[in-house]
């Protein structure tokens, strides 16, 4: 009897449609595009800042308006998605063992959320929003 194992083909470009959890994973991975784009915007701001008041203020004017606001809102959604998906898995990477047990993961996650909120409030306060 001869063996003739059958290898099922795998799509290299559409595999993530096979299961919702793969789509969830890809939605996390694409957050990098938005983080990258926003960082380039930051870099731009710093560059204009180094060129003086007029340059910087024209930059500020250029990012004003509904289309920018829409774009930044979309960026905001994705960076929040990155934050949530990042914090939620922290206990996996850095479990905390106490004696013969582990600190329940939800405490580690909660601690991260707490720090996130505190830092965000601090930045808003420092920036003069609050």
């Amino acid at each position: 009897m001869s063996r003739r194992p059958f290898v099922r083909p795998v799509s290299r470009t559409r595999w993530y449609f096979k299961h919702p959890r793969y789509l969830r994973y890809m939605s996390r991975e694409v957050t990098c595009v938005f983080i990258g784009a926003f960082t380039l915007l930051l870099l731009c701001a710093v560059e204009r800042l180094s060129e003086g008041q007029a340059a910087y203020e024209s930059f500020l004017a250029a990012i004003g308006g509904p289309w920018s606001a829409l774009g930044l809102s979309i960026v905001l959604i994705f960076v929040v998605h990155n934050a949530i998906s990042w914090f939620n898995v922290t206990p996996k990477a850095l479990p905390v063992q106490i004696g013969e047990g582990f600190l329940p993961g939800r405490f580690i996650v909660a601690a991260h959320y707490a720090v996130w909120i505190l830092i965000s409030l601090a930045v808003l306060f420092f920036a003069g929003v609050l």
């Binding site: 009897m1 001869s2 063996r3 003739r4 194992p5 059958f6 290898v7 099922r8 795998v10 290299r12 595999w15 993530y16 096979k18 299961h19 959890r21 793969y22 994973y25 991975e29 898995v89 206990p91 996996k92 990477a93 850095l94 479990p95 063992q97 004696g99 013969e100 047990g101 582990f102």
Partner: protein, 247 residues
Amino acid sequence: MNERMVQLDVLRYDPQVDDEPHFQHYEVPCKEEWVVLDALNAIKESIDPTLNYRWSCHMAVCGSCGMMINGEPRLSCHAFLRDFEGVIRVEPLANFPIERDLVTVADDFIDKLKRVKPYLIPGETRSIDEGEYIQTPAQLMKYRHFSMCINCMLCYAACPQYALQPLFLGPAAITLAHRYNLDSRDGGRDERQQVIATNEGVWECSFVGACSEVCPKAVDPAGALQQVKVASTLDWFREHLLPGDTK
């Protein structure tokens, strides 16, 4: 006891006749409390003795009955019929070649398992007179959940990186290496790191997390692999930035 007709679409493949697998439809009377494996056994006993599949313990211990059930890697002895509606689609475990019907070729996994040396390599050799290797409960807890693996390969069937890059060592093998690396009695970490801290080892993992979602024994391989990344990163900085250590 209640009985009902259960419908299954089972992927069949006969290497001597078929060029590719095809679904075969079965209808079989099943008891309410049965699992998918019971339904397959009923088919084999009373409808179609040619159906091939692996199983042994019928209690989620031996790890041999893994299948894709409605597209999800499951132990068929642990997939209760009452949780399914309509036709149940049963296929061999994804990401492994099909030997025949629901039987897959597991050689790749077995080979990878061997390569990570999943056994205790004592740090210090003790003679029998010196007694056993002592371990405290806290030291045991460090790795206990990683030692629950039954080698069912469901995590490999769920892992898209293994599907895309078959050279990837994969979740269970790296997790098992980590389990021994964490063992206070073990001294084999350096040897195992040579195998798992490689591009085709842990660094092929992109933390999809699917492995931990499908693992029937709550082993959390995704967590293990993240911990291996952290530890291997610390190793790297120690090996490359600390003077004198050239290993």
